[in-house]
């Protein structure tokens, strides 16, 4: 009858004697990082699939994202029949001006200064001369002019010959709505820097100079 019993019955003594073999087996398992490094491409991850090694692909020319069709030409070009328009494509509210101020202080104040005189730390250290918004030419310019400049940038001279781009286009960085909000805020800055006592409501005049 002896043969019916397995010779390897699990007795407590045996468990104690050979249990550590199981612990040793744990050492064989290396640390897997499969969840840590998942085989998916995230922003800026390199890729071996494409020849240039970039995981993020540049847009195919002519691509229009869903909902990004630029049907409102004036909103996206600032031009009416090829001429800079002098109206805002949407209503100017306090929220638009505050958005414009916030965006102006991020993008424009870097060179043109917070008050718009073309004075800033970058301009001073870099030896560049950004335009002042308070010169007569720009005070007379239509509001679309500021939008067109932010959208297209500024060329000094003829780009074919010796000209260079003194201000780059911000169209890829600032949305069209925000570019218009900045244009509106620049107009507000111009008004503020050339304001007279008559522009202040009589009941507020006592607060001036405080």
């Amino acid at each position: 009858m002896q043969a019916l019993h397995s010779r390897w019955r699990l007795s407590p003594a045996r468990l104690l004697r050979y249990g550590w073999v199981g612990f040793l087996a744990l050492l064989l398992a290396a640390c897997h990082q499969d969840m840590y490094n998942q085989p998916k491409v995230q922003t800026y991850d390199p890729s071996t699939f494409f020849a240039d090694g970039r995981g993020s692909r540049p847009n195919v020319p002519g691509t229009v994202a869903v909902g990004a069709a630029q049907t409102d030409t004036y909103l996206y070009t600032g031009l009416i029949n090829g001429v800079e328009g002098d109206v805002m494509p949407f209503e100017v509210t306090r929220a638009v001006l505050e958005r414009g101020q916030q965006q102006y202080n991020i993008w424009c104040a870097v060179c043109h200064g917070e008050a718009g005189y073309g004075l800033s730390a970058v301009a001073q250290r870099g030896g560049i001369v950004p335009a002042s918004f308070h010169q007569q030419r720009l005070r007379d310019a239509p509001i679309g002019h500021f939008f067109v400049i932010i959208t297209n940038g500024v060329y000094r001279g003829d780009p074919e010959k010796d000209g260079y781009q003194s201000m780059y286009s911000y169209a890829s960085r600032i949305s069209a709505e925000d570019r218009w909000a900045i244009a509106a805020y620049i107009r507000a800055l111009q008004l503020s820097q050339n304001a007279t006592l008559e522009d202040v409501p009589p009941e507020q005049r006592a607060n001036l100079g405080q």
């Binding site: 995230q42 870097v110 260079y164």
Partner: protein
């Protein structure tokens, strides 16, 4: 042949069993401490970059807003690394001939991106969204430290889950007004908890039982 081991060697054999167990426990502890250490995680170690770009100069001294370069931080999950065009917006005119700018000029001319080295790595099983944090009043410096004082950027905080949860459990201790999110010099006011509670309500920040749910970060 005589006895090699004296009688009390039995006790030594007994003790060595416990010493062995203790050694294993210590080994596990040492490994755990090592893998959680700032040394292993390269915390406070400046990461060399292919271009000698200084946040200290650009943000600290010149006062360029974080969003001038990291445009998408409040629009997308990812705070973008600026395109070479962004660098060239200024450096096509400023310090154009400096050897430090050379890799930028080359990248702009060839269209080959500059390969910056990643400083903050979040595991792929964690979903982190920059936009929701900065738009709900979590400041840049809360997680990234005083980047405005870093000539070369380093990570100043190991990103443990417990560290994330600390804020997800007590958001009122860390949120600031939205206007102050990009202010690198911001110091929490004395009434932070009262202000924080008010901001949590105003910005509609989820209550901690929802904010600490697994799906918030692991999706």
């Amino acid at each position: 042949m005589g006895q090699i081991f004296p009688r009390n060697a039995n006790r030594l054999a007994w003790l060595s069993v416990f010493a062995g167990l203790l050694l294993v426990a210590e080994l596990v502890l040492i490994l755990a401490v090592y893998f959680r250490s700032n040394y292993f995680r390269q915390i406070n170690v400046a990461i060399e970059q292919p271009v000698a770009f200084s946040h200290q100069l650009h943000n600290g001294v010149l006062g360029i807003d974080c969003r001038y370069c990291h445009v998408s931080v409040n629009q997308s999950y990812f705070a973008n690394i600026p395109a070479t065009e962004t660098c060239m917006t200024c450096h096509s005119q400023i310090k154009t001939y400096s050897p430090k700018i050379a890799p930028v000029l080359e990248s702009y001319a060839t269209g080959k991106p500059i390969e910056w080295n990643k400083v903050h790595r979040v595991p792929d099983f964690v979903y982190f969204n920059h936009a929701i944090h900065v738009n709900k009043g979590v400041g840049c410096s809360t997680c990234h430290g005083q980047v405005n004082e870093m000539p070369v950027v380093w990570q100043q905080q190991a990103m443990f889950m417990g560290w994330c949860l600390n804020c997800h459990r007590n958001p009122e201790q860390y949120v600031r007004p939205r206007d102050e999110v990009y202010n690198m010099e911001y110091v929490a006011p004395a009434n932070q908890v009262a202000l924080g509670r008010q901001l949590v309500a105003e910005y509609g920040i989820m209550p901690p039982d929802q904010l600490t749910n697994c799906w918030v970060c692991h999706r």
